[in-house]
Symmetry: C2
Subunit: 161 residues, 2 copies
């Protein structure tokens, strides 16, 4: 029987960070950025300094620098200067999941635009090729709409619960 211990198992947490970061990486997310993301997520502190991140992940300062810059552009991590200290604190955006899901929707937009632009070149409206591309566009439009609604719903649930 597994006990619900009140103490952290640091070793297990470290394994988790590496494991889930790899899963993100397989999906195209930069590896080091993923490791930083989950180091922040599993930290009990509200934020970590670049130095702390480097130490916990055993990575160079340069790698950390690149990763937090990347995460900052995605608005997943915010940088917070600490008054009276040279070190900045990096913390997860509180609505990180909402943000990252929203970002994905920008991708839909550009795929839709590209698809739209080729329809004319695909011959008569009844050509199989044109029908296929039009269906893809329709699917993306559908997803774009519905996902927006979903994210609203999630936000509402969060706020309530």
């Amino acid at each position: 029987m597994t006990e619900d211990s009140p103490v952290r198992d640091e070793e297990a947490v470290r394994r988790f960070v590496e494991q889930i970061a790899m899963q993100f990486a397989e999906w195209g997310f930069p590896r080091m950025a993923a490791r930083v993301l989950f180091a922040l997520m599993t930290a009990d502190e509200p934020g970590l300094t670049a130095g702390e991140l480097g130490e916990r992940l055993d990575a160079s300062a340069a790698a950390i620098s690149g990763a937090v810059r990347y995460l900052g552009q995605l608005r997943l991590v915010v940088r917070e200067p600490v008054p009276g200290s040279r070190r900045d604190l990096y913390r997860l955006a509180d609505n990180a999941w909402y943000v990252s899901a929203s970002a994905e929707m920008g991708l839909y937009k550009s795929l839709i635009a590209t698809s739209e632009s080729v329809l004319e070149a695909l011959g008569g409206p009844r050509s199989p090729a044109r029908a296929r591309v039009a269906e893809m566009r329709d699917f993306l439009l559908f997803l774009q709409d519905e996902m927006a609604g979903l994210l609203e719903k999630w936000n509402a649930t969060r706020a309530a619960g």
Copy 2:
């Protein structure tokens, strides 16, 4: 004013294939697989042989072989032997978008499982780290559920329209 010509603009179609394949590639999809996918989508023929794909994309037989194998594993493309010919025909799965979206949901499952497995190791239920990871898991569970509903809805709309 752009005319709605009944003839294909092959050059424009070729540019489209390359452009949208690159957009997919940026997002982590193998480049050649994306090119094959869109070559099939924009073909007026119901399917193409490996040879035709190689010719249209100016790629080696080996590259085509790898790409269709990849697309086959994702169930995006089906291979169809042509009776009385050595050539097989590759055609897009008719429900390709449904399929690829469903595949993405497998990813959610494994992320959920990984997150679930670390909760115990994150100390007391009230620790900030544990709360963050639990929220991520909840978000993924939410998405998984809702997306399933969305895909049903899409299928229904398709069948009807």
